[in-house]
Structure formats: structure tokens, C-alpha cells
């Protein structure tokens, strides 16, 4: 018995959100889709490789600036600018990762943070290229005139069209990442998480393997960043700043690092809660902190871990 293709079903369902007719829902859903890709890319390192990166926002930021600069100043079409953003972020990940994988554990994490801080500082200061502190507003929307001519889509707004494109692209990226984690490469990555010393002794070139994972994670973070810059109608240095790295880390852990879609669920829950709670009270950070503490103690497998345990308990109860 094969399990239902949850990812595909979720992506199809997500495509109907604009049909609800609320600009706000579409806005939140776009945010969730992009951050879900960002968080799942981080989880390739955290959940599968056992590598804690405190600087994943660097690649998100690099992708956002690359895509923004290409589209705004060089009139590169979106269809080229977005893959380019991924490749540029991947190239930076290769360069920084080369040094990071030479360290382990907390030293690895600190070095990823150090590189991210350098990226942030450059984005913040290099006025002529990045717009410095002011950032880079008015990233043009991709030309989606063709979408309006598709049957059934003519009545939607440009934001809805961009959202649908985002869902399709994020789904495609998640599909690719899912293939990677289920590949021989992905399996050997889990041996590194479990026991890097032993992995070497079954012939895994641990550093090289980690570096490749780092580049893939950086590449998809870059694509997420490129999409986010357009969605946000501007790119700012705080895309690469450490709070962004910790935000994505929280999403990933909240959702559950042991599950492929865990981080995506984490992104959904965190962003929706954030929207809801900030409309009632200004104490969101306090609530977030409390939530995290409860989760870490009561549900170390994250939200998806807790749900899956509940699911299997119900399944057993029904069979009994």
C-alpha cells in the first residue's frame, strides 16, 4: 500500500487559495510557500546531514540580491534571473562551504554564522551595488501577462498570478530536493549525520559529501531568496542578517527535522501564528518563545513528529 502523495495534493490545494478572493490570504500563502522552500533547503543540512548552519540566510540574501539586481538593473527576464540567483547562491555556498566543512559541530555552525555576517555587512555597506542600508526597492514583477490569457486565470490579480507561479516553482524545487534525499547520495548523507567517523570507514568522503549538500542547500535557499525579493517588492540587507537565519532554523525545528515536509509545516504554522497573534497582541516574541519551550520538551520530533506519533497510535487503536 503506497501512501497518498501528500506533497502533490498540498500543492494542488494551494493553487486554489486565490479563488477564495482574499488578497490577504494570497499574501500569507506566498510568504509560506517561499519560506517553506527556504526551510526545507536548510533541513537538507540539519535533518539529513546533521550539520547546524547558523548562517543559511546568507544564501537567501545572495539569491534575493542576485535576482533583484539582474531584473532591476539589467532587465534580465525572470525565467533566467531566478535560476541565475540559485546558481550564484550555490557558487557562494561552494566557496564558503569549502572552509566550513573543514570544521565540525559548533565550530562549523560558528563559521557559517561568520560568513553570513560578512555577506550581511557587504550588502549593508556596498551602496553602489546593493543600495546599502536603504536596500533595493521596486524589484519589477515578472511579466505574467501570459498567465492572464490562460483560460480561467484572466480574472485574477497580478499578485495571484505570481503566487501560482511561486507554488509551481516551489513544488518543483521540493520535488527535486525530495529526490535528492531519497537518492544514494541522500542515504549516505544520513550516515554522516549518524556517525561521521564510521562513514569515512565505509568509504564516504565526508567533507566532499558535506560540501555538496551545502551547495545544494545554498542553491535552493537562493531560489527562495530570489522569489522573496520579488514578493516583497524589494531586497534589504536584513534578508541576510542573523535573525533571518534563526527564523528559518526555528521553522525547521518547530516543524520537525526528521521529516521531509516538517520544515514546510513549521513555516506554515509559524507564519500563520505570527499573523494571527500580532493582530491581537504585541507580545509575539514572548509567545513564540513559550511555544518553542513547550515544543522542545513535549514534542522533540516537532509538529510533524507529534502528528505522526498520534497517527500511528490511532492506527493501532483502530486495528486493535
Amino acid at each position: 500500500m503506497s501512501r497518498p502523495p501528500w506533497g502533490l495534493l498540498a500543492a494542488l490545494a494551494a493553487l486554489f487559495i486565490p479563488a477564495l478572493g482574499s488578497r490577504f490570504y494570497t499574501f500569507v500563502a506566498t510568504d509560506v510557500a517561499i519560506m517553506a522552500l527556504f526551510a526545507v533547503s536548510l533541513n537538507l543540512l540539519l535533518g539529513y546531514g546533521g550539520l547546524v548552519s547558523f548562517g543559511h540566510a546568507a544564501y537567501f540574501g545572495i539569491g534575493a540580491y542576485a535576482c533583484g539586481i539582474l531584473m532591476k538593473y539589467h532587465a534580465v527576464p525572470f525565467a533566467l534571473a531566478l535560476p541565475a540567483a540559485g546558481l550564484i547562491a550555490g557558487a557562494f555556498a561552494a566557496f564558503f562551504g569549502f572552509f566550513c566543512v573543514r570544521l565540525t559541530k559548533i565550530y562549523f555552525a560558528m563559521l557559517t554564522l561568520a560568513f553570513a555576517q560578512i555577506v550581511w555587512a557587504i550588502c549593508f555597506k556596498w551602496n553602489s551595488v546593493t543600495g546599502g542600508e536603504q536596500g533595493m526597492p521596486e524589484i519589477p514583477y515578472p511579466d505574467l501577462g501570459w498567465a492572464a490569457r490562460l483560460p480561467g486565470l484572466g480574472t485574477y490579480r497580478a499578485g495571484d498570478h505570481f503566487y501560482m507561479l511561486t507554488v509551481a516553482l516551489v513544488a518543483a524545487c521540493l520535488w527535486l530536493l525530495r529526490r535528492v534525499v531519497r537518492s544514494p547520495f541522500g542515504r549516505l548523507l544520513t550516515t554522516i549525520r549518524e556517525n561521521p567517523e564510521r562513514a569515512e570507514f565505509i568509504g564516504v568522503n565526508v567533507r566532499r559529501h558535506e560540501l555538496i549538500a551545502f551547495v545544494i542547500a545554498g542553491l535552493f535557499a537562493g531560489i527562495a531568496g530570489g522569489l522573496f525579493g520579488i514578493f516583497n517588492r524589494g531586497v534589504f540587507p536584513d534578508f541576510a542578517y542573523w535573525p533571518k537565519s534563526s527564523e528559518v532554523l526555528i521553522m525547521t525545528i518547530l516543524g520537525g527535522t526528521g521529516y521531509f515536509y516538517g520544515p514546510a509545516i513549521g513555516a506554515l504554522v509559524l507564519l500563520v501564528l505570527n499573523q494571527q497573534i500580532t493582530s491581537y497582541t504585541q507580545y509575539w516574541p514572548f509567545i513564540l518563545g513559550t511555544l518553542l519551550i513547550i515544543l522542545l520538551f513535549a514534542f522533540p520530533g516537532g509538529i510533524v513528529g507529534a502528528l505522526s506519533r498520534l497517527g500511528s497510535r490511532l492506527g493501532r487503536a483502530r486495528r486493535a
Binding site: S183, L188, E200
Partner: protein, 246 residues
């Protein structure tokens, strides 16, 4: 096949291995014995690239392999097991062995194949020969100590070595488990024409299967030869066998 010449290793000034020479002929079964802390594990670590010797050389079939990283040594058909079990605890038994096949046969960079389709038959055959077929889908970290030791051996065998180094393969096993495991190791070594270098505290095991024995004491080789020669060596009796007899 394997030549170790004058390897030395010190930890913070403590000379753990003080110039060891060792020759293991192709197809032979050789044991390293010695009291606790003699440096047996350290010698293994020096041969397999886990540690870099301060001096001396290790050659395999005439090729210098001193100081190569473990994953390259592994590719030269040297495999090892560990004294303290060293497995992938949150993977299943099946996944442990399958991963060793994947790596050994060069699929490490295959990013898009479906891992479930690789080496099923090979993995199952190997699990059968180490008698873990029934536990194939259990999480390996939850196995009994004896089963983990068997898996440890399986991980080494999955890389289809010509030279197999086993660091106390039966440590902590019950008498029956020890007996079975030794019979298994002997059979596999014979069937595949393996060269075997192992350490062991159980003297009965050592003298029953080793063709040559090297005795290590405080980081030095104090005796070597056939089991009969080693048994008769007065120095050995004094530092090692004697201790046990007392």
C-alpha cells in the same frame, strides 16, 4: 600484503606506539595480542588512516599508504571493525549494510536514483551470512550488544575487503555468540581468501584461529611467530600470559 615499518605515535608526550613492525602475508590470519593499553587499537588506527603516524610507514602490496584518509584506504580494499561498536544507530540494520554497499561501489554522488532500488539482494545475502536477516528492519541502535557487533562485522564485509582488520570482534559477547562469530569469521575469511588481522582478548579464540601472533606490550612488539612459538616465549609468559594464569 601489509607491511608496517617502525610506526610511532605519541599522545601528549605519552608514547602509545613506540616503533612497531608488522608483516601480514596475503591470505594469512594474524592476531595482535597484548594487555590493556598495549597499543593494539592505536596500531589499527594508524594502519587505517584514522590517526597519522609520527614516524614510520605503512605499505599495502608495495604501495605506500601512510597517512591517507580513511575513505581512500577503504577504497584500497581494506576494511575494519571497531572495538566499541560504531554503527549508524538511527538507521535500520538493512540501511546500515546497504549504505556500505552504496559507498563502496561508488554511488556516493548519485543524486537522483531511488535508493530503495540499490543492492537489495546483496544486502539481504550479507545479512543472511551474519545472521541478522530477521532483524533487517529494526533500528540498529536498539539491537543487543552482540547483534550490534555482528552488524559491525557486516559493515566491514560489505566493502568487500581483501584485508580485514577486526578490533576485538567478540568483545562483550556471550560464549555461544563468540563461538558462532569466530566460526563465521573463519568461514568468510576462507571463502573469500581474505587476509585477516585481528586483536582479541580471548586467548582460546586467538590460539584456535591465528596462524601468526604478534605480542604487543607498552607500544612495542615483544614477540611474534606461530602460536606455538609465542606460547613458549618466556617474555610473553611473564608480561601477558602469566598475568592471566596468576
Amino acid at each position: 600484503m601489509l607491511e608496517v615499518r617502525g610506526v610511532r605515535k605519541a599522545f601528549d608526550g605519552f608514547q602509545a606506539v613506540a616503533g612497531v613492525d608488522l608483516t601480514v602475508g596475503k591470505g594469512s590470519i594474524c592476531a595482535i595480542i597484548g594487555p590493556n593499553g598495549a597499543g593494539k587499537t592505536t596500531v589499527f588506527n594508524l594502519i587505517t588512516g584514522h590517526l597519522r603516524p609520527d614516524a614510520g610507514s605503512v605499505t599495502l602490496n608495495g604501495r605506500e599508504i601512510t597517512g591517507l584518509p580513511p575513505h581512500e584506504i577503504c577504497r584500497l580494499k581494506i576494511a575494519r571493525s571497531f572495538q566499541r561498536t560504531n554503527i549508524f544507530p538511527r538507521l535500520t540494520v538493512f540501511q546500515n549494510i546497504q549504505a556500505a554497499f552504496l559507498s563502496h561501489r561508488g554511488h556516493g554522488l548519485n543524486l537522483f536514483g531511488n535508493v530503495e532500488r540499490y543492492y537489495r539482494a546483496e544486502t539481504e545475502t550479507l545479512l543472511g551470512s551474519i545472521r541478522l536477516s530477521e532483524k533487517a528492519h529494526e533500528i540498529s541502535g536498539f539491537l543487543s550488544h552482540g547483534n550490534q557487533k555482528q552488524l559491525e562485522l557486516g559493515l566491514a564485509l560489505a566493502s568487500e575487503p581483501e584485508l580485514l582488520l577486526l578490533d576485538e570482534p567478540t568483545a562483550g559477547m556471550s560464549a555461544t555468540e563468540t563461538h558462532e562469530t569466530i566460526a563465521l569469521i573463519e568461514r568468510i575469511a576462507r571463502d573469500h581468501g581474505l587476509t585477516l588481522l585481528f586483536t582479541e582478548h580471548d586467548m582460546e579464540v586467538v590460539f584456535s584461529i591465528a596462524q601468526t601472533i604478534v605480542v604487543l606490550h607498552q607500544g612495542r612488539v615483544i614477540a611474534g611467530g606461530t602460536p606455538a612459538e609465542v606460547r613458549a616465549n618466556p617474555e610473553v609468559q611473564r608480561v601477558y600470559l602469566g598475568e592471566r594464569g596468576r
